[in-house]
């Protein structure tokens, strides 16, 4: 693997962080769309039986659960150009790692879910095959929030964004920059 330089010019770093920010906004919009479809899918399953995997509410949900891990994977590829965002031992940033793993779980749950519904047509919300959708999204959201805070904190440090006035928010940015947002031992 190529050795990343320890520092890059400030202007270059701001531009790269903002390009990453563009991807994050797009992926955030997709995540918001998934939340909308949770209601659409839920209302559909309260009013009609499951006759097919490919109802519109499922096209919507499943296409997003493929777009999200792929999109965050693309963000991880671009993330390598910004040395400050590296995780422990020059690996992928921990937040980014959690996000990709969470959304990958939802992507594979598409298959698990369809296997389950091959035998059990009833769409009860609390069946185990649905747990992994929800747990995957929660893990992904936790990781994405930590990653977004870290990117934003770096933009603040570089003078490209306004620092938070709330002392608790300012402290969170400081911890993020020190690589201690998740815990004091996991960067």
């Amino acid at each position: 693997m190529a050795q990343m330089p320890a520092l890059i010019p400030k202007e270059v770093e701001i531009q790269r962080l903002k390009k990453l920010w563009l991807m994050i906004i797009a992926l955030g919009s997709i995540a918001a769309s998934v939340e909308v479809d949770n209601f659409v899918d839920g209302s559909l399953h309260q009013t009609s039986i499951r006759d097919s995997a490919f109802t519109p509410a499922h096209w919507w949900l499943y296409s997003h659960f493929i777009a999200l891990p792929v999109g965050w994977g693309a963000a991880a590829i671009y993330d390598r150009k910004i040395p400050i965002l590296r995780g422990p031992n020059n690996s992928i940033n921990t937040g980014l790692k959690m996000t990709i793993l969470g959304y990958l779980a939802t992507m594979f749950t598409i298959g698990v879910n369809e296997m389950w519904h091959f035998w059990f047509v009833e769409e009860i919300f609390a069946v185990p095959n649905h747990w992994m959708f929800n747990m995957g999204v929660v893990v992904a959201f936790m990781g994405a929030l930590a990653y977004v805070v870290r990117v934003y904190a770096r933009l603040v440090e570089l003078g490209a964004e306004t620092p938070g006035e709330n002392p608790y928010v300012a402290e969170m940015y400081k911890m993020a920059l020190e690589g201690k947002l998740y815990s004091r031992s996991i960067p």
Partner: protein, 120 residues
């Protein structure tokens, strides 16, 4: 400033503004056109998705439900679009407020027209 391999004057270690520009590539404040096209493409795909829903599955996805989803998603996409352009241009001399206003205005008008006419 240490620069990656291939940048800077050979062995001298110094970086010029040309090097920095080359490392940046297309600057984010100049990406309004691409962001606008992406937003319009996403909005068109959203209409395609909901239209496929209520034309092929009218019993499971009634037209008002499809229009509701279309409107909510248009709002989400428009917020993302405005956010993208404003964040990319803050701190620069660029200003694309006119383009953003025209695009969002067109999309708002077209969304209303679609929900009033399509599928009835």
């Amino acid at each position: 400033m240490t620069l990656p391999k291939g940048f800077g004057s050979g062995g001298g270690g110094g970086s010029s503004s040309a090097d920095v520009e080359r490392m940046i590539g297309k600057r984010v404040e100049n990406m309004t056109g691409m962001i606008t096209i992406s937003f319009l493409a996403a909005w068109g795909a959203t209409f395609g998705g909901t239209a496929a829903g209520y034309f092929y599955y009218p019993w499971a996805y009634p037209t008002p439900s499809g229009h509701f989803a279309f409107i909510v998603l248009t709002i989400i996409e428009a917020i993302g679009y405005i956010f993208c352009v404003k964040v990319m241009q803050e701190g620069s001399n660029k200003n694309s407020n006119g383009v953003v206003a025209a695009t969002v205005g067109f999309v708002a008008a077209a969304t209303i027209a679609i929900t009033l006419t399509v599928g009835h």
